[in-house]
């Protein structure tokens, strides 16, 4: 059984990175972002609206994403978000940092006494 994937259990700031990633792939509206995150993570991350929208607001305010009202495939109006150039740059930097940290943590967790000598 997968661990209880409350968004709050996400590492602080990770949600921003994940949203930026999905939006760097293609512009999406709020609901779409949630669904996409769920799909990619194979259901591990379920992002609720109470976390998603504040995160979107912050990203928009910091100029990392921009929103635009468009017609959806269901023929409704929704606000689509897309990553800006600045957003992509931030994502690149954060991805690199994350990989470095995750690699380091993984090495520490795998460490045995033999490797240290």
């Amino acid at each position: 059984m997968p661990p209880d994937p409350k968004p709050s259990s996400l590492v602080q700031g990770t949600l921003h990175m994940l949203i930026l990633k999905t939006l760097a792939l293609e512009p999406l509206h709020g609901y779409g972002i949630g669904v996409r995150l769920e799909q990619i993570s194979k259901g591990v991350f379920q992002v609720n609206a109470g976390s998603l929208f504040p995160a979107l607001r912050r990203l928009e305010r910091d100029g990392l994403i921009v929103g635009e009202w468009r017609v959806t495939e269901n023929n409704r109006r929704a606000k689509y978000y897309a990553a800006t150039a600045q957003g992509r740059a931030t994502l690149k930097r954060e991805t690199r940092d994350w990989e470095a940290q995750a690699g380091a943590i993984a090495r520490i967790l795998r460490a045995s006494l033999g490797e240290l000598s």
Binding site: H29, G30, Y31, G32, G34, V35, N48, A49, G50, S51, F53, P54, A55, R57, R58, R61, D62, G63, T72, N74, R76, R77, A78, K79
Partner: protein
Amino acid sequence: MIASRRVAAGLAALFRRARGERELDAELGAFLQEAIDDNMRAGMSREAAVRAARLRLGSTAAVKENVRDAGWESLVDAAWLDVRYALRSLRKSPGFAAAATLTLALGIGATTAIFSLLDAVLLRSLPVENPEELVLVGGPQYPVFKAYKQRTHIFADLLATSGVTPLDVEVQSGVRERTAVSLVSGSYFSTLGVRASIGRVFTASEDVAAGQHPIAVVSDAYWRREFGGDPFVVNRIVRVSGTPITIVGVAPRGFFGEHVGRAPDLWIPLTMWGHIVPGRNLLESPGTGWLRLIGRVQPGVPTSGAQPELTQVFRRTLEEIFGPNVSADTRRDIAGAAIGFEPAARGVSALRAQFARPLQLLMGAVVLVLLIACANIANLLLARAAARRREIDVRLALGIGRARLVRQLLTESLVLAAIGGTFGIAVAFAGRDALLRFISEDGSRLAVAAPADARLFAFVAIVSLATAILFGLAPAWQSARTRIAGSLASRHESGAPHRHRLSSLLVVAQVAISLVLLMGAGLFLRTIANLRDVDLGFDPERLLIVDVNPQAAGYQGERAIALHRKLIERIASLPNVSSVSFAENGVLSGRDSSTNLMRPVGFLEGKDGFPRSQWDVVGPRYFSTSGVALVSGRDFTEDDVAGSAPVVAIDERMSRVFFQGADPIGRHLVWGVGGPELEIVAVVRDVKQSGPKTEAQSRFYLPYYQLTRVRPSWVLASTLFFVRTAARPVAFAPELRRVIQSEDPRLSIARLEIGPELVSRTLVQERMVAVLLVTFGALAAGLACLGLYGLIAYDVARRTNEIGIRMALGARPGQVRALMLRRALVWISAGVGAGVPLALSTSRVAQNLLFGLSPTDTATLVVAAIVISAMGLIAAYIPARRASRVDPLIALRVG
């Protein structure tokens, strides 16, 4: 970058709130619709799809709340909410709000008033260009000033000023008024970097020729007062000591000269001295030090490098002035002189020397009062918190965060402090004006730069904020940290024990601090009493001192003597006058002269030169008129004239210095070398010429009518008349003026003062401190008693039930009273116990301001302790008596 964008976005959100809300609503709606569509596509029924979608979205309100909290502007919203809540809850308890606001207004107002004075007198820089570059330079002689300018390159600019001299000025013809005039070098305004607001200021060309520059710059205040702010004031002519002077400009508003507390009305070039200032022409008296020099140092000149050069120029100039035949004294003075400079950014000020310590002391005292006020409000808040226990517990139970609760309660304190601070500003202005009038010499408001500016408001804001935190934090913290369950279940306040410990501590501290302030008040009251008991050596009661100044009206030499004789005669013929005389300086005039040239014939110079004595030129019957007791010999008479044998009177101290106890009557003194021999005809008591705080000094007196023979070169600058009246002098001035002006209409009475008033004026500093310390002490003790009263009253209310039971079981009212008073006694004793060492250690700061008693004076401390204990017990007795009158039946039924 991001930070500035966040600020901008936050502001935009604040001002376009409605639009943001609409957009968010639309976005959430779209979210829901997409979710429903999605769910139905996955095969759910519409109903199930809607429910699942709603579940996914969660509470719309919560989402919106979260989004709002994402930006900093949400804090503004929350703060505004808290402020409104605080105002509402304060409105609900107007008594508490009024008491707290009044206490704070008094506390903050008093603190601000003292601070604004301290700031004006001690801290604030001169209102000139780059004041930090200004230096005060030693070397007060006019030729030295010129030499500095011509022979050195140390100063970029250098000014000389005579300070403030009172002179007769006529703006309208015939109306003479004593006006504060400052004679300054042409470089005065350029050195300070002050430009005229109308017309022009002086230039270097005004330094050139003596008597050729009859022009003046007037102060802004004088321009408004005397000329009604006339924009065409330039080229108007005023008469200064009778000389026509043309106004060339008006100084900018707020510029009060270089001397804090002495603002001149007119500036006139120094070169005019001989024409407008009666007495000796100091411009032609090269060796006399009478100027104040302030300069701006050339960039790159180090302070240390300038000193030897200045000293050298100073010595060389003085040697040139005095020539080779100088006395040993003068040679020593010149050789020993080391000229340097000190920072002058804050101007020069006798006021600073006089009031620095007292103001610092009062600042400390007023902060103590503010602390007591804070303690009182903290106690009120604690009581209020206890009363609001249930409300707060309910809110805690409903899930308000403790941090949020503390924030809300602190907001209430801040609102209180803000209201208190606002009223405090009004209190501060009134208090400051009263204080300025109090310490100024002539009853007018003292001219110091104490404007109501941003600096003052910043101070009020900071003090209010600090007090709010001081009195609000503990109660807020206490409210938030209690357990909920117990207190909601029982109807007794579970916060009580905590509240009690903190409250008692506050009351004990209040008593202790009050003791310190009362002790201070006592010390200064006794200082004043001691100063009043000082034997002055003369009698100020029923003594009038009248500045007629015949010299300003042009009287000199024999004509002046004739006028003095006539004036004495005419004033003496007035009803109620028992005696009249005059003096060049005289008692309580604040003026004095000194010399080391008067000595017995053949007296040899000691290692330190000749002994110095103060001296005065006086009229007939001066000693009996001023009440200086004759030890032996006779008073001066009308017959001590140029034609009779020259005489002199000396005081006991001078008699001791020169004759070591032998009877000096009939012996002779001589002025310098080769002067006429003066027979000593009187020995008089030592006088404290300038009031109780002055040291008595060796002193001798010469009769005025004989002066032309004894010291032909001595020209009197002015004379003061001394009138002893038979009854209390009431409204004597009009009659005196009539008599004097009937003799010569050009004569004016510049000032008329009565002896006791002049004596008390010398005590103005002690009186100010005493009055304020008594006020602060009373305020502090009153607040402490209020705190004590509140605490006992609360205790009585809380224990009504218990008291009822005790009385039902047979306790007598006296026992109940004792029960309640015992607590008060414990608190008072603890407060006094803590206060005694506190008072003893802090009273030392007043050391130099006290007179005739030690700062750790035991009697004063004991009295202060008794006063605060008695006041405290009375305050506690009122609720204790109420307790003893509890009707057991009612108490038990209601409880």
